[in-house]
Symmetry: C2
Subunit: 323 residues, 2 copies
């Protein structure tokens, strides 16, 4: 059987990981290169090309590869370009899908990393068989991928699904990256959790907390988690507060697209019930009755290391045969 | 040519209006019956059936009718049922599409009134040719219909698109119908505008206003409009405030589905620039740069009386041939 494999590439700010994936979602080969070594995009693609050759040969050559799927920050599905990605070293608009297609000789599809994760989840993870769901990635930032009627929502320009930047608390916390106030990302990201912890410590100088064993500036979401599982009150309240904001935001998303499930993904989900329970409670409280007790709020079933490659590769199966 | 006509029915709390529409969106015949006369749904359908017979004969009989499209509050597209509609006299779950199909002998499709308006706008109005847009109806309440990838978003259960009930101001104004706080509908509906006017008058007892010529309880959105166009400061500020909340809400919707346009529809749009300008300003201010100055914020091009019938009838052209 020809063209039974897809290449998945996930471009992060620091590293690019890639793999060859079969139709069942098994990753046969994995590799990584730096995303920061080559200022020149052609040099980067050359290194990627060389790094992938041994794997391509292992599956019988490029003629067995249906295409290449890429997840990247600010990746635009329609244009196949990366546009003004603040965390990548290539500035402006990069026609990445076109450059990859020319180099490898197979079709390439590009989307942003959160959308790629949603596609991966739909094909191989917790959203298998679902036609309507929302994937929320809770990492350093908050990303999202929205599937309705079985398809990703790209919007008219390919930029749909920036739920991390929706305003949840008007006039609320300033987001230093966007200069906007009260966005979901300022509260529900790992960065937001650390910020909330510092804020609580400052607001309650007389309350004991394990968090006070750390310098205020050094508190990150991992420390908050460690203190919370040791039973620290302030640390637990940080998660309660984070879940309150996230739950409120999710209720709005539910009343928009009425998904069967919301799938949480990313580093923050390691907190388990600490984050899940308050989020679920506040989501339900803010829903109209017709939406209550219907939406599954679940964690991703994909291993985080695999999800990026799987999700990107999954884009390939949707590529129309245009070569 | 057979089956070139569709029947459109719009069921409101007080009246049911209907018409026969051709493929070009021309309404050939219009009529209306009461929605409140028959407690028994079969009796209501019988009256509707009889009222439509002269029009059906005029277009050459039922064999020239492809189907019947119905817009109704709480109408569910998937199940063809009206479910627990607070403003209709039929309680519980009404299998309306099935009853209509059995009575008329042609397929029937049902959706909520805001979704029907969105389909009408896509086929015959301001959204012609668009694949991604959001329709917001600003009337007594706030309704919405969301189109992505050229299709209405129904969600997994058929209830998607309740944007009027999303929380915009956490802990804000109480909605007496839903008991929820700070929802868009509590501010951006005609009811919300009247409420804001009364609130402003009470908060500023020393400020003159034409609005003070009316008893506080008697102020409605029409009076606010009349005073605003006469240059009354408080009345104009009511629209400014309404646009501030609506614009913020719209920015969140844009970052969800990145529509080409947001189309405003319903009684409140008669206020023209009074509502459009502040809404546009605050929408743009709350958008990430990649979304700014891209989304068309426009008024519906359909006559309100026609839109309901047109939108409902437009559902018919999407009915799969299943008879």
């Amino acid at each position: 059987m020809k063209q039974q494999y897809a290449i998945g590439i996930d471009i992060g700010g620091t590293n690019t990981v890639f793999g060859i994936v079969d139709h069942r979602g098994d990753t046969l080969y994995r590799g990584a290169i730096s995303s920061r070594k080559h200022q020149n995009i052609e040099d980067y693609i050359q290194e990627l090309y060389e790094a992938l050759q041994p794997a391509i040969l292992q599956v019988g050559g490029i003629e067995n590869i249906k295409g290449i799927g890429i997840g990247a920050p600010n990746g635009n599905y329609y244009s196949g370009t990366i546009e003004y990605a603040p965390n990548l070293i290539w500035k402006g608009i990069i026609p990445l899908a076109k450059l990859i297609t020319e180099k490898f000789g197979v079709p390439a599809a590009l989307t942003n990393d959160a959308n790629a994760a949603a596609v991966g989840e739909m094909m191989y993870g917790a959203a298998k068989g679902m036609k309507d769901f929302i994937m929320i990635t809770l990492g350093t930032g908050v990303g999202s991928g929205i599937v309705a009627n079985g398809h990703l929502i790209y919007g008219h320009d390919g930029f749909a699904g920036e739920l991390g930047h929706t305003t949840i608390i008007p006039g609320g916390r300033l987001h230093p990256g966007t200069n906007m106030k009260g966005s979901l990302e300022s509260y529900a990201s790992a960065t937001g959790v650390a910020y909330t912890a510092r804020e609580f410590l400052e607001q309650r100088p007389d309350q004991d907390s394990l968090l006070r064993n750390y310098p205020l500036d050094g508190i990150d979401s991992r420390i908050v988690y460690d203190c919370a599982i040791q039973g620290d009150t302030i640390a637990k309240e940080v998660y309660e507060y984070t879940g309150q904001i996230l739950g409120l935001a999710l209720s709005n998303f539910v009343m928009f697209s009425s998904p069967e499930a919301i799938i949480l993904f990313g580093g923050m989900t390691k907190a388990g019930d600490l984050i899940l329970k308050p989020t679920q409670k506040h989501m339900e409280e803010n829903l109209l009755p017709i939406f209550q007790n219907k939406v599954k709020l679940i964690f991703s079933e994909l291993k985080e290391a695999d999800a990026a490659i799987l999700g990107a590769s999954a884009l390939v199966w949707e590529i129309k045969d245009r070569v």
